[in-house]
């Protein structure tokens, strides 16, 4: 059996999405900017796809939702354009992000820091959540932008975006949110949350890879990073990714339709897996369930190094993830585990399971069995569950 529980990394493309994209490869392959029927064939479907994307986040027609290549591009765009317009010109000197943003925000902020921008990295509390008041505490009259993710990729923790949006609006500070992990999992509405910029990525909600978007509220348009033709209203040059946009539109529509399912059925499966894992002794889950996206669990298995756990799961056909240690090139421990102040011994033990609407009950049952077996085997190897003779000095 193969079970895919790494949906916060990427998702299966919805077969209906794939079907909708298919004609735009070999039949309707015209460049939308050209003057002939091949081009015209793409216009109506593109417009409809854009309308679905707008509707999905509650954008109004006067706002701009510019299609990009991915969320990383969208995040880079916001921060770097804010730098060009506000920091470099001396109007402002400061931005605020959280310490658990996606690397495309953190690394960009660090880059801007090296160029003279001041950056505040807001902490998370022991539940893995950025508290809204910290945003208010750190805003100065020189703050150009606050960028806080809607939901965290590691824990699924949902941040108080509505409160933060209100604080930013009342202080006159621009507000960006990376909503990559929220769309299709919780309701997202840019108007209700006072959002100026919002990042999204199609492949996180069963759309294709290589297409993302940046929402910009009317009046908050940004300097383009890609100069060239006048595509996307001049905000982002580059021939339109026609199949990608069609796919993203369809995926957005399907994700919104499935939102109730996600928050009930997917959540039930997730809870069942979580309950079973918590029955195993010495396991710890980060962030209370009610404050998390319905599909995510970040769990620590004491005494089991994360990559070893992934190895045993993978051998049984189960895909999960660890942000920690040896699974990545840089051998660092999971940044969220450190940020919530988890016990140091648990820093390398976190495993993330992330479900989707395609996850089945049988898959969860199978996963529960395999997790139990893996924990048993790996703890039998583990030095933290080892016999130490009397008088043996256990100090390391």
């Amino acid at each position: 059996m193969r079970v895919y529980l790494d949906n916060n990394a990427t998702t299966i493309v919805d077969p209906h999405v794939y079907e909708a994209m298919e004609p735009f490869f070999c039949q309707k392959y015209g460049n939308p900017s050209s003057l002939h029927q091949f081009a015209s064939d793409t216009h109506k479907p593109l417009k409809e796809a854009m309308q679905k994307i707008y509707a999905g986040i509650g954008a109004s027609n006067e706002d701009s939702v510019v299609i990009t290549s991915c969320a990383t591009e969208s995040n880079n765009w916001v921060l770097k354009s804010i730098y060009f317009e506000y920091i470099l010109t001396g109007r402002k000197n400061h931005i605020i992000i959280s310490e658990v943003e996606h690397p495309s925000i953190i690394a960009t902020a660090k880059f801007l820091e090296s160029k003279g921008c001041k950056v505040t990295y807001l902490p998370i509390n022991s539940e893995g959540i950025v508290e809204a008041h910290t945003v208010r505490d750190f805003i100065t009259d020189k703050t150009a932008l606050v960028s806080i993710m809607w939901a965290n990729n590691e824990t699924g923790a949902i941040f108080p975006i509505h409160e933060i949006g209100e604080i930013c609006a009342s202080k006159g500070v621009l507000f960006h949110t990376d909503a990559v992990q929220a769309i299709g999992k919780v309701p997202v509405n840019v108007k209700e949350a006072n959002i100026d910029y919002l990042t999204m990525s199609a492949h996180k909600f069963h759309g294709p890879k290589g297409v993302g978007a940046l929402y910009m509220k009317k009046g908050c348009e940004l300097t383009p990073l890609f100069h060239g033709g006048s595509h996307m209203g001049g905000y982002r040059s580059g021939t339109l990714n026609v199949p990608g946009i069609i796919g993203m539109g369809k995926a957005m529509e399907a994700a919104i339709d499935a939102l109730d399912f996600e928050m009930s059925e997917v959540k039930d499966l997730r809870d069942r897996l979580e309950d079973a894992i918590l029955e195993i002794e010495d396991t710890f889950v980060v962030t209370p369930r009610t404050k998390r996206t319905p599909n995510t669990i970040l769990v620590s298995f004491r005494g089991i190094e994360g990559e070893a756990m992934l190895w045993d799961l993978n051998r049984a056909g189960i895909a999960a993830s660890t942000g920690s240690a040896c699974a990545s090139e840089d051998l660092e421990s999971n940044p969220v585990m450190e940020a919530i102040g988890a016990e140091a011994d648990l820093a390398h033990t976190a495993i993330r399971f992330s479900l989707s609407r395609y996850t089945t009950s049988e898959e969860i049952d199978y996963t529960i069995d395999i997790v139990k077996e893996a924990v048993k085997r790996l703890r039998s190897i583990s030095s933290s569950y080892a016999y130490a003779p009397q008088g043996h000095n256990n100090e390391l």
């Binding site: 005494g303 990559e307 190895w311 993978n314 140091a344 039998s380 003779p389 390391l396």
Partner: protein, 322 residues
């Protein structure tokens, strides 16, 4: 860069078949109890190395025959990833039947080589070499417990890169002989820094006493001192020096006579430029830290600096703060 570095593969693809098999079914995993050791008439040694908070911890059990120091049995327990478990298993296997002194000669490189499928393809990717070092360290720990001596007494040299086992003296020599200036060059010459990279600079997987970047800085300073010494010793006239020699000579005088005092007061100074202005040498400096706002920086400190430079280098020096 290049094609292989553009799309990252999974590190698991680079594990040898042996590593995978040992991870799935470690042979020497487990414990030796007091009773088991007693039944072999052996002394039980239990040694720990590493810490879970760092991502790796290993416990090694030895049953050693006190008559001839032979390790009759070896077992391990490990908190770690697949390569850590496989390395520990291989290490325990290599210990068996050897005397404690022979076991001490086993290095992490022996452990890694024993896990290869073919002699010239590494068993683990570079960033996993670190796991085999743990296996090596725990042997030393066990031996030190058996012999009742300090672990450091087994190490005759200071090892900077533990993965490739490159010593401080080797590194210093290679850097000097080949006039190396970058970490990449050191890695090319010695393999130090090619694996887990902890020894390259602070902030890696493990904290070190000395890093490759420190050795480069050390050599750089040595060269500078050498140039300045040459200038002084050879009585080369300041006016006949090249611009680089002048800069270094000025740096040296400031380093030796002034900088320490400034730093103690929370400040510092940097040399920006040296220009010939008629018969004069104008040395442009910038104060840093506390010095930049200090009243004395344009009076007492400045005069002191100028008179020392005049005395040591050339009567026609003028110091101009910017």
């Amino acid at each position: 860069m290049g094609i292989d570095s553009l799309i990252g593969g999974t590190i698991w693809d680079e594990y040898s078949q042996k590593v995978c098999e040992l991870m799935n079914n470690p042979k020497n995993m487990g414990e030796i109890t007091e009773e088991e050791a007693a039944s072999m008439k052996a002394k039980l040694i239990v040694a720990d190395f590493g810490a879970e908070s760092c991502g790796d911890a290993v416990r090694l059990y030895w049953a050693v025959d006190p008559k001839n120091d032979i390790i009759l049995d070896a077992k391990f327990k490990s908190f770690g990833c697949g390569t850590a478990i496989a390395s520990s298993d291989t290490m325990a296997e290599l210990c068996k039947g050897k005397s404690v002194d022979e076991a001490l000669k086993i290095t992490n490189i022996d452990v890694e080589k024993a896990m290869r499928d073919t002699p010239d393809i590494p068993a683990v990717p570079p960033q996993k070499m670190h796991c085999s070092v743990m296996a090596y360290d725990v042997i030393k720990k066990a031996a030190s417990q058996y012999k009742g001596v300090d672990m450091a007494s087994f190490e005759h040299e200071i090892i900077v890169c533990e993965c490739a086992r490159v010593s401080l003296s080797t590194l210093r020599e290679v850097i000097r002989i080949n006039d190396l200036t970058t970490v990449e060059q050191i890695t090319d010459y010695t393999k130090a820094g090619a694996f887990c990279k902890s020894c390259v600079r602070p902030g890696g997987h493990e904290a070190k006493d000395i890093y490759l970047v420190d050795l480069l800085t050390e050599y750089e300073k040595e060269k500078m001192t050498h140039v300045a010494d040459e200038a002084n010793a050879g009585n080369v006239d300041f006016s006949k020096m090249t611009i680089v020699q002048r800069l270094k000579a000025v740096e040296k005088v400031i380093d030796e006579n002034i900088r320490q005092m400034l730093i103690m007061d929370g400040g510092n100074v940097e040399i920006l430029d040296i220009k010939e202005n008629g018969a004069n040498f104008d040395i442009y400096i910038r104060y840093l830290g506390a010095c930049s706002g200090c009243a004395s920086s344009s009076t007492g400190t400045l005069f002191a600096m100028e008179s020392i430079l005049k005395d040591k280098l050339d009567e026609n020096i003028r110091v101009i703060p910017l």
